[in-house]
Amino acid sequence: MPDPIIPALAQTRVVKFARVRRERLLPTRGVVMVTAGNRVGALDVVAKVTSAGNVRPVPLARYLRTKETALDKYLLKQPGEDFAAREILASKPESFGMLRRIYRAPKAGRIVAAQGAWLALDLADTAFELRALYRGTVINVMARQGVVIEATGALVQGMWGAGGEGYGVIRQMVDQPDALLSDDRIDVTARGTVLLAGAGITEAALRRAAEERVAGLIVGGLAPGLRRLCAELELPTLVTDGFGECAMSKMIFELLAAHVGEETIINAPTVPVSPSRPEAFIPILAGGGAGETAVPPPTLLAQVGANVRVVSGALRGQIGKIAEIATLPRTLESGVAAWGAEITFDTGARLFVPWENLELIG
């Protein structure tokens, strides 16, 4: 009988100390403020754009009641030129020069284009600054686009994230990974911190966290109805184990709890489809052990002894080790015949789990 084929498994990185590289990119082209080799802190601005693409198109020919071909001669500012708030950008004489029909800038900014009957204004109040987020060294600069930063520290990838980026000191809010975080545990002292919750968070607690302006939230499970709320409240949220009430994986909880009081970042953009996983990162300059050198996280392989996490069904979130690779498919209660492996869990239980319902973790 040929050896059973082990398919490519999904994987979640949970690493105590490693060297990572992360791209930090502007939403549109702008100016990079650092050079390769610069050391950067989480809040350092590495690049910026004077506008984040919030362009105000203006149908100027219609407003001035003129033909588009005549528009040029009434423009007082040309594309590329800056203007102040309330500054007159176009002026057309009327009634034999006795009156003038004018267009004033709504805010300060720059004219980005004049095309046909329209003018496009780039309003300066939408400037965007890109922060380093990852404390480390700039190793590559992509002109006008962003940088690559190399950082060392602890890394926890989540299953889902929303709310954007956050930076603060991590604060443990529950004693156990299966505990719920309720609003009575959040007060003004939570401001600016990253909250470490357990199996879930109530809606009231989520709202309270936003009111107290916490820097972020790391939680095992999230009720389906709270997904949009995280994005609306712009509260950087990292969900480590899935939707519904589910205890945070012990491996993740213990790693994060070991860094309580240390600066932590959450990188969890609100995007429907993202090529990269949302994550939490705790910068560490030196490893826990003396002389430990940071290296990139080791490649995870699906083999006997490897750490795996169950991603679906009643055992979701449980972490165990591959004990044996099944040589034949097994029929499940659902009737599906699936290939998989015998997994031993911390509880001592040994169960068959299909490959599709497992991911490598570590």
Binding site: V55, P57, V112, G244, V311
Partner: protein, 596 residues
């Protein structure tokens, strides 16, 4: 590289957004036959970011099953086939793995040109991020509520009137699209309003960084082409195709669809990670799965002279194709699928409706959480009966949403394809799922694509039609049986029809079909039977002549299904009664074990 047209052995691959399926086809007794299949996770995203990894995984499964070497030691496909039966003569791939094109539509009339453009776009791998219809603005300024400035003294929002054209332009400027589609006007008609729209598009595009500008496809009044080119062509690439609405009465969707297909290939398929390695294996172009699936449905319709509806329920895309003679309805829903897009089903199905098609009691939040977790790990298989019921309920919702505006009458054959209909599935449960979701009526056959390779076979139809035809007719589909689904105004329990079934090898079966019932009459694959249906008063069976429908039917894996639940199917309002009824239907079609 050998000519795929002359290939005896072929590997076909369908690289979906979740799963990559590969099938081996070879000549057996002088005919192309399906030999084996393998499937693996699609590896288009990190950490692999190379679709070849998943394709090789699936090929290795085939190698193990048929004990035939297909890959070299350095993991390259052996092509052409060697005399020692190593490798294959040709490799053909289709894909739905890339993200769909993101479009904005700008047009003159919501009811005319924009509706036609939307119909054209519905048949392509594209989603519409923004629509601006000039006739909807009415020229009136619109009240807009603005949030207070962060440093304002009074933190109260203010309401201001804004120009609708400015609001539209701002919406277009914010929508990060691959292309803008400009439509409007009948051929030879007025052009002034179109030029205004061209100006609006021009300023939106001109304000963007040159490297980030979307291209524009003009599919409107042909008399405006030169002027549109003058206004837009200097700012960004402009592609001009025939008008989608050349007259008020006629649509011409094909040119716009062809252009969007070309754009999908250019902007999405060609950028699929690892595609370079894959193209070294094949001389044939890698085509979108939805189009390949359309090829198969059209082939079946033409070859057997049938009205055929095909439904391909994929991980990231759901495709519905209905072919009636020369008429084709094609819906590609790149926002609906059994993978990451399950999130959309959670968003669309209200919490109180979540349990509608479930025979088990479950809190809405628990069901939603299950679907969202499935969206995170779309390859996870159902472990328990509850998991299986939840998956089927999600599949119903996806299929129903995708087939919403597809005619479901007058069909002869329904073909079901996609991961949810794969080899591991319980056929009775799948038949029920399809009948509940599409709610077709009349007399028709139901067939399932057990390997999920129908789109890939459609891919080889264009390069080796003989091989595709041979495989699809002999191995590609499993006939579930014949379905009789009359329309009825009767009440539950009243007689809808009297049915006489005369199998060729056994005695006559006489049935009185009660309204609300679902009957399964076993009739083995290949077994023929003469049926005679006499609909009762208030019951419509379009194929019946003078009150009787007579036909020769053939059995299948399930047999004859008589679906007298009426259309639309109404579910009891009481949750307990509803669960009991749904469970009864599962039992009636032999789908009670759940997903498998």
């Amino acid at each position: 590289m050998p000519d795929p047209q002359k290939a005896e052995s072929l590997l076909v691959a369908d690289i979906g957004s979740v799963t990559t399926k590969v099938g081996l086809i070879d000549v057996v007794n002088g005919e192309h036959r399906f030999v084996s299949a393998g499937s693996a996770a699609t590896t288009a995203t990190p950490p692999e970011a190379d679709v070849l990894v998943g394709v090789r995984d699936a090929i290795r499964q085939i190698e193990a099953r048929v004990e035939r070497q297909l890959l070299t030691d350095d993991q390259q496909l052996i092509v052409p086939e060697r005399s020692s039966a190593q490798g294959v003569d040709a490799f053909v791939a289709v894909t739905s793995a890339p993200q769909p094109l993101r479009l904005a539509i700008v047009g003159l009339s919501r009811e005319l040109s924009i509706t036609s453009a939307l119909r054209a776009i519905n048949g392509t791998h594209a989603t519409v991020a923004a629509i601006f219809a000039l006739d909807e603005t009415g020229g009136r300024w619109i009240p807009v509520t603005l949030p207070p400035a962060p440093d304002a003294q009074q933190q109260t929002p203010t309401t201001v009137l804004q120009d609708p054209a400015v609001l539209a332009a701002e919406t277009l400027a914010r929508a990060q699209v691959d292309a803008l589609v400009l439509v409007g006007g009948v051929d030879g008609g007025a052009t002034t309003a179109l030029y205004d729209l061209a100006n609006l598009i021009a300023i939106v595009i001109a304000a963007r960084d040159e490297n980030l500008r979307p291209l524009v496809i003009f599919a409107g009044n042909n008399a405006a082409r030169a002027e549109i080119a003058k206004r837009i062509g200097q700012i960004t690439p402009l592609r001009v195709v025939d008008n989608v609405r050349p007259t008020l009465e006629h649509e011409n969707l094909a040119p716009l669809q062809r252009e969007l297909d070309a754009l999908y290939d250019e902007k999405k398929i060609k950028w699929l990670p690892g595609l370079g390695g894959l193209t070294n294996w094949t001389a044939a172009p890698i085509v979108p799965s939805a189009h390949a699936f359309q090829n198969i449905v059209r082939y079946l319709a033409r070859r057997f002279g049938l009205n055929v509806l095909g439904a391909d329920l994929g991980g990231g895309t759901t495709t519905i194709v209905a072919v009636r003679g020369d008429s084709i309805q094609h819906r590609v829903r790149a926002d609906l699928g059994m993978g990451h897009h399950l999130e959309n089903i959670v968003a669309q199905v209200p919490a109180e409706r979540v349990a509608d098609w479930l025979p088990i009691e479950i809190a809405a939040e628990e069901a939603q959480a299950h679907w969202l977790n499935q969206a995170l790990y779309p390859r996870a298989v159902p472990l328990t009966r509850q998991d299986a019921y939840l998956m089927q309920a999600a599949a119903r919702a996806v299929l129903a949403a995708a087939a919403r505006d597809i005619r479901a009458d007058g069909l002869d054959l329904i073909v079901l394809s996609g991961g949810a209909f794969g080899a591991n599935s319980n056929l009775g449960a799948l038949a029920l799922l399809a009948l509940d979701a599409i709610q077709p009526h009349g007399v028709f056959s139901l067939a399932v694509d057990p390997f999920g390779l129908a789109p890939a076979l459609g891919g080889i139809a264009s390069v080796n039609p003989e091989a595709a035809a041979s495989v699809i007719e002999r191995d590609g589909l499993v006939t579930l049986g014949t379905v009789i689904a009359p329309l009825s105004r009767n009440r539950e329990g009243q007689i809808d029809a009297r049915v006489q079934i005369q199998p060729t090898s056994s005695g006559v079966i006489n049935l009185e079909v009660q309204h609300g019932s679902l009957e399964l009459v076993p009739l083995l694959p290949g077994q023929k039977a003469a049926i005679e249906i006499r609909p009762a008063g208030g019951v419509t069976l379009p194929q019946a002549k003078r009150g009787v429908f007579k036909a020769q039917i053939e059995g299948g894996a399930l047999g004859l299904i008589i679906d007298a639940r009426g259309r639309p199917i109404t579910l009891p309002g009481d949750p307990e009664k509803r669960r009991t009824k749904i469970q009864q239907w599962y039992w009636d079609v032999g789908g009670e074990v759940g997903y498998a």
